[in-house]
Every structure is written in structure tokens, then in C-alpha cells.
Amino acid sequence: MNKILEAKFLAPDIKLFKIEAPKIATKRKPGQFIILRVHQDGERIPLTIADSDIKQGTITIIVQGIGNTTKHLNTLKAGDFIPDLVGPLGKPSHIENFGCAVSIGGGVGTAIAYPTAKALKEAGNYVISIIGGRSKEFVILEDEMSATSDECYPTTDDGSYGFHGFVTQKLQQLIDEGKKIDFVLAIGPIPMMEAVAKVTKPNNIKTVVSLNPIMVDGTGMCGGCRAIVGGKTQFVCVDGPEFDAHEVDFKVLTNRNKMYLTQEKTSLESHICKLEKMYDKEKTNG
């Protein structure tokens, strides 16, 4: 059981949680994740640790409510408990002084890019951050990213804030301007990560992406999170989650993430149904 100490929305459907987990807080390194369940019959879902506070004994996770579990999670408040939480899992990010490092976060991916960007900065890199969102309200952690970056560029698809366009267009612009980039970290939706890989490959820029496939145990047992990297099967939970973007088979990754689309819809409908019933009951009970 882990207690939620703080919970606040950063954007529509995107919520930040500070959760009591003192041991994980001391042990975790950038790039690692946790797996949690929200109730007895809950699903195990992986979430990257965005930050930790050793003194407070907390870890921070940032969640976008998309499926049954994440939507349920986003109804939780400070004082509520998470029944099962395990971590840190996965290999930490490889951090070194590359020179100029660009960290790219798309949507909630910014939350995952943030701890690694911070570590890259601490390792002496010149850090440029590009943080994208559909519109202004979906650009998250701008203050935090700015604080750990030498340059920080928010981008929006609709032009409502910052650079008008995709994160890849901003990256291309930097390359075209002659910026010498030694390393790119890209975390976000799969199409975004694939697009970043396509921009950096012809420029021979080492690029790392963090994969978020479907997992069950997350400890190297079930094999569900397998991905093809460099033509070989890799297990994201123990071999990753970060991989060389130019080696990842994005087509397989995209397909495998669609495996349960129909079931996820059913699950979500039944979840919403349950919530409505709860709400009705509360109303009747006055």
C-alpha cells in the first residue's frame, strides 16, 4: 500500500501524483519505471518515474487518463492509497556528457523525458529541450524543463503556444540552423518517436527512445513486452526501456500496442458504467 500525498491536474486528463515510496525514491535512477495496480482485480500497468524526493520519501508519476486503469488512477486524490506498486524496474538511462543533447517530449512523454534531461544536464551536457503538445494546455512541465535546459522550446500542433508545428519540425529547424547536436532523446507517442528517428538518422545523430509496450509482470518473466531492435527480440522490461531509435522496428511496436484495442474499449465502457453506478448510488444516498 502506497499513500498518495499530492495529486493535481497538469493538463486535461493529465495528472501528477506524489506517492509515498521512500525506498524506491532513494533507489530509482532516471529512465526507470514502476508498475502499479489500482485495485484487487486491477491490471498491472507500467509508468515511468518522473521525479523523486528522497527527503520527503516520494516518487512522482504523471499519468494521462486513456484506458480503464489510467482513468481510474486519475480519480484518486491525496490521501488515497495505491494497493500495489513495485519498482524501480528496467535499466536506468545511459547518461554521459555527449556535448549537446536535445531532449524531446511529446504530450505526457515530457514527464518521462524530464528526469533524463535533468541527468543529462547534471552530467555537463548543453541541453536543449523541445516539449510538444496538441495545443497550449497540453504542454506540460515547461518550468521544470526550462530549469534543467540551456534552451527550451515549447511547440504546439495548432500554434496556440510557442513554435507552431511538430517537435520534429523544431528539431529539423535547429539542425538546419547549423546547431551541432550530439545526442537526441525522444519520448512520446510512437509516431512521434519514429518521426524523430527519421530526422536524426540522415544526420547521424545518436538517438534514444523510451518504449512503452504492453507489459504484465515487468520483471523478465512473461515476454509480453518483446520488441524488435536491430533485428533481434528484446524484452523492454529488462533490456530497456530505452533503445537506439535507429534500430527499433516501429511497425511491430505499433501493431503490438494495438493488440487489445477492442478489449480496452469494453473494459473502459464497463469502467465508466461502474463509475456512473457509484455516482447514482451516492446521489440516492444523498
Binding site: 525506498k23 524506491i24 533507489k27 526507470q32 495496480r37 482485480d41 486491477g42 491490471e43 498491472r44 480503464n68 486503469t69 494497493p83 500495489d84 506498486l85 513495485v86 519498482g87 524501480p88 524496474l89 504484465v216 509482470d217 520483471t219 523478465g220 518473466m221 512473461c222 515476454g223 509480453g224 518483446r226 524488435i228 527480440t233 524484452f235 529488462v238 511497425k251 511491430v252 501493431n255 503490438r256 494495438k258 493488440m259 487489445y260 477492442t262 478489449q263 480496452e264 469494453t266 473494459s267 464497463s270 469502467h271
Partner: protein, 474 residues
């Protein structure tokens, strides 16, 4: 009543357990075997001739005093029978269900020479079930506290059996489990219809009542390393079990609809996906679909029989050799056949074929025939040229074994392992090259059985007991 003569005992026929009807049970997850009645149990127990030098004990990986507990059953003293079992076996109700007795105690039973051996496994199950149902799990006597602290890494059969012995010896025992539920393969791997999870939970509760402390959601190696554990424990037993599943490395294995048996069974057993959407974890809907399971072991049988229960239209085993070479227990193969599982033998998969959306639609099989015996003594299957068949399937489950879990190795670089990542140990004590660190079960042997892992746990417990008393002599 006069004592029965051996002749009279040996004239009694072996009693089979009652089973659910195959056409009923292949649609539900209830236990297949229904156990003995008291009358049958006593009659079966009467078949034991109480050998002076009982071979059955030597055939048992945990050396249960088999003649003694069987005699107690024949006298109607089921309570004492269960107590005798628990001296040597932390999980008798589990072992009475999943042990391959035909390869162990029953294989060497003297009666097997002329006929059917005593049904030792069924009787073990009877005594353990009787206790649980009638008087609740009893706790064996514990030795006085020693003050020594032992960490067990992994809450599966090896760790639980090691914990059961060490707690009886008076040590403080803490079991660290990575998942949210203790039991390892007993919980995530073996299906409900072969081993009801409630029975596992109750036997584990018994250990907790004896004082074993359980810590779930704790991945040793990542949250705390073996070296860090050594700072706060006197000894460590590593029983982290099998690791990542092997795949066949054929084209199309990444298509949607292709599972490893580990994932398939974990979704159903641990996560209860068969109750979806009542529970949250989904799985690919196999209702009215065709499922092929690759492999010939117990895990393959578990997966294929699970598929039927999930409503598969056809469920088949695809195996490269013949039934005689299958490593699965005879009982599991028999049960699978009765339930309607098809067997595609002497067939090796060449490729999985998918549709445009990346979903599995068919498998391509190479027909084989048996050639000369290979190094293992089994006749090697060789392809029949040109005999390739394409069969439409919607789900595939690959059940061809596991590698080792990499987390302990990655985080304990000075622990000696072989090239497959299995931890190297001294077979008599299960000690590793690191002082105070012992290991056993699948992480040492590679995929094996529950009872062999439990045997290793016991061997380690005995050595750990000696080690913590005199660490300087080790």
C-alpha cells in the same frame, strides 16, 4: 480385527480419483480431479505393505516419511498423517496435486514391480485436504528462536519450501516476492483446474502463521541488491525461478495473437483475464477460434487445456516428435485428449503468417519423421522433403521453455553463473560462490518441476542452518 496379510493388501486394486466429466470440465475452470472419499482413502492406504526398507522415501525429492503417513491414514488418523507430511513438505496439498509421482515415489514402490503402485500422491492430497477442510491448517512445532535472519528471494516452490524448513528450525525468515501475490509458478503458471489458487493461498497462510514474513512487490536486485541484503541478513536463498520465455525464432513470431506460454498463463491465472471485463486484464479473445500450442511439456498441456476452457473452437498441440517423447506427465496428456485437444505430432513450425493488420492468420508446418537417436537418446525428428502444410489459426502459444531471469545476475556481477545465466551451486549444499548466498530451483537447473525446486529449497535450508550456526567453517 486381525492385521491384513500382505497378500490381502496386494489383492486390492489401485483406486483412481473421481474426475469431472471431460465434456463438462473443458468448459469450466473448476478442479478436474475430485479427490478420494474417506472410505477409498483408507482402502488405498491398506494397499501399502509397509516395507522395512521403503524405497518410496528415497524416490521423494523432499524425503517424506511415506509409509508412516499412509499407515496413519489406514488407521483413520488423518490429522496425524497430515502432521507427518508437514515435517518434510511445506506444501502437501500442492504437491499431492502437481508432483510427477509416477516418476518418483510411485515409480520405486515395490508394488509397481507386479502391478500398480500405491497411489501415494492421491493419499498425500487426501490427508492435506482432510486437515484443511476439517480442522484447518495445523502448525508444526517450532524449535526455539535462534535469532538468525534469513532472506528468501522469490516466493515460489523453492523459496517456500526453504522458508518452511528454516522457520521450523527457529530462524527468522523473510520472503521477498516480485509480484503482488506470493506463490510463483503455483500462482501465475499452473491453472486453477489443476491447482486451485485458494489451496496455494491457504498453505502460504500456514507459513505466515508459523512466522514467515512475506514482502510482496519487491524486486531484489533493483530495490535492494544481494550485497545490501547481506548487510541485514545472516544468509540468503535465491529462488527466483525461470526467466524469459524462449521463442522459436521463426518469421511472424511478433504478430498479434502469438503468445509465450508464460504470458498466456499469467494473464489467465495471476491476472484472472478469464473473468474479463469483470477483472481489468484483457487477453486475446479465443472464443470460437483455433488455438495452436507449441511444445510437449506440462506447460504446453496447461495452455492448450486453458484455451478450450476459454471457448476455443479447436485447440491443438503441435510437437516436433511423437507422444512418446513428450516431457508432459502421462496424466496431463490423457486429460488433454479426453477434453478434446488435438495432437499434431511430428510437425515443426516454419512460419507464422499474418494479415495486413499484423494479426496471426495461419501457421506453416513442416512434417517430420523419426530418424536416428540423438545425444539425448531420443530419435531425432527429420523433415520430410516437400511435406509442408498451412493451417489457419488465430492464436499461437509458444511453450518451449524458459531462459534464466537476468535481474539478479545483472545486479550481482560477482555471482558465478553458467553461459545460460543459471546460478552455479554446490549440489550438496546449494551454496554459491558468494559466502552466505545459496540458490536453488529453476534459476539453478533451468525449467524443471515444482517438487525438484522444493527439494533444492530443503537441501539449501539444511545447509543454511549449519552455515548460520558456524559461518566461519564455511
Amino acid at each position: 480385527m486381525a492385521e491384513m496379510t500382505n497378500k490381502e493388501r496386494m489383492s486390492i486394486k489401485r483406486h483412481h480419483m473421481l474426475e469431472q466429466d471431460p465434456n463438462v470440465r473443458n468448459k469450466n475452470f473448476e478442479e478436474v480431479n475430485l479427490g478420494y472419499t474417506q472410505e477409498i482413502a483408507i482402502e488405498e492406504a491398506n494397499r501399502c505393505i509397509q516395507c522395512k526398507n521403503p524405497l518410496c522415501i528415497t524416490g521423494c525429492p523432499v524425503s517424506i516419511n511415506i509409509p508412516k503417513f499412509i499407515k496413519l491414514i489406514s488407521e483413520g488418523n488423518h490429522k496425524e498423517a497430515a502432521a507427518v507430511l508437514k515435517i518434510d513438505n511445506a506444501l502437501p496439498a500442492v504437491c499431492g496435486r502437481v508432483c510427477p509421482q509416477e516418476e518418483q515415489c510411485e515409480k520405486v514402490c515395490i508394488l509397481a514391480k507386479k502391478g500398480d503402485p500405491v497411489a501415494i500422491g492421491n493419499l498425500e492430497r487426501w490427508a492435506a485436504d482432510w486437515e484443511r477442510k476439517n480442522i484447518g491448517l495445523q502448525i508444526p512445532e517450532l524449535k526455539p528462536k535462534t535469532g538468525k535472519k534469513i532472506a528468501i528471494v522469490g516466493g515460489g516452490p523453492a523459496g517456500l519450501s526453504c522458508a518452511g524448513d528454516l522457520i521450523q528450525m527457529g530462524h527468522e525468515v523473510t520472503v521477498f516476492e516480485a509480484l503482488h501475490s506470493v506463490g510463483g509458478v503455483l500462482i501465475y503458471g499452473i491453472p486453477e483446474f489443476r491447482l486451485p489458487k485458494e489451496i496455494v493461498h491457504i498453505e502460504i497462510e500456514g507459513l505466515a502463521k508459523m512466522g514467515v514474513e512475506f514482502v510482496t512487490n519487491y524486486v531484489v536486485g533493483l530495490i535492494e541488491t544481494i550485497d545490501e541484503l547481506l548487510e541485514r541478513f545472516d544468509a540468503i536463498f535465491i529462488g527466483v525461478g525461470a526467466g524469459l520465455p524462449y521463442f522459436m525464432n521463426i518469421p511472424g513470431e511478433h504478430l498479434n495473437g502469438v503468445y509465450s506460454s508464460n504470458e498466456f498463463l499469467t494473464r489467465v491465472n495471476l491476472m484472472k483475464a478469464y473473468k474479463f471485463p469483470e477483472t481489468d486484464t484483457p487477453m486475446f479473445d479465443v472464443k470460437n477460434k483455433v488455438v495452436a500450442v507449441f511444445g510437449g511439456g506440462n506447460t504446453a498441456m496447461d495452455a492448450v487445456r486453458t484455451s478450450l476452457r476459454l471457448g476455443a473452437k479447436r485447440a491443438m498441440i503441435v510437437y516436433r516428435r511423437t507422444e512418446a517423447e513428450m516431457p508432459a506427465r502421462i496424466e496431463e496428456i490423457k486429460h488433454a485428449k479426453e477434453e478434446g485437444v488435438e495432437f499434431y505430432l511430428l510437425a515443426a513450425p516454419l512460419e507464422f503468417l499474418g494479415d495486413e493488420q499484423g494479426w496471426l492468420r495461419a501457421m506453416k508446418l513442416q512434417k517430420m519423421e523419426l530418424g536416428e537417436p540423438d545425444a539425448s537418446g531420443r530419435r531425432r525428428p527429420v523433415p520430410i522433403e516437400g511435406a509442408v502444410e498451412e493451417i489457419s489459426i488465430e492464436t499461437a502459444v509458444v511453450a518451449i521453455g524458459n531462459g534464466s531471469n537476468p535481474i539478479i545476475n545483472q545486479t550481482t556481477p560477482d555471482l558465478n553463473v553458467n553461459k545460460w545465466g543459471n546460478i552455479l551451486v554446490d549440489n550438496n549444499t546449494m551454496k554459491t560462490n558468494k559466502k552466505g548466498v545459496f540458490a536453488g530451483g529453476d534459476i539453478v537447473t533451468g525449467g524443471a518441476t515444482v517438487i525438484l525446486a522444493m527439494g533444492a529449497g530443503r537441501t539449501a535450508a539444511k545447509a543454511i542452518d549449519e552455515f548460520v550456526k558456524n559461518p566461519d567453517t564455511w
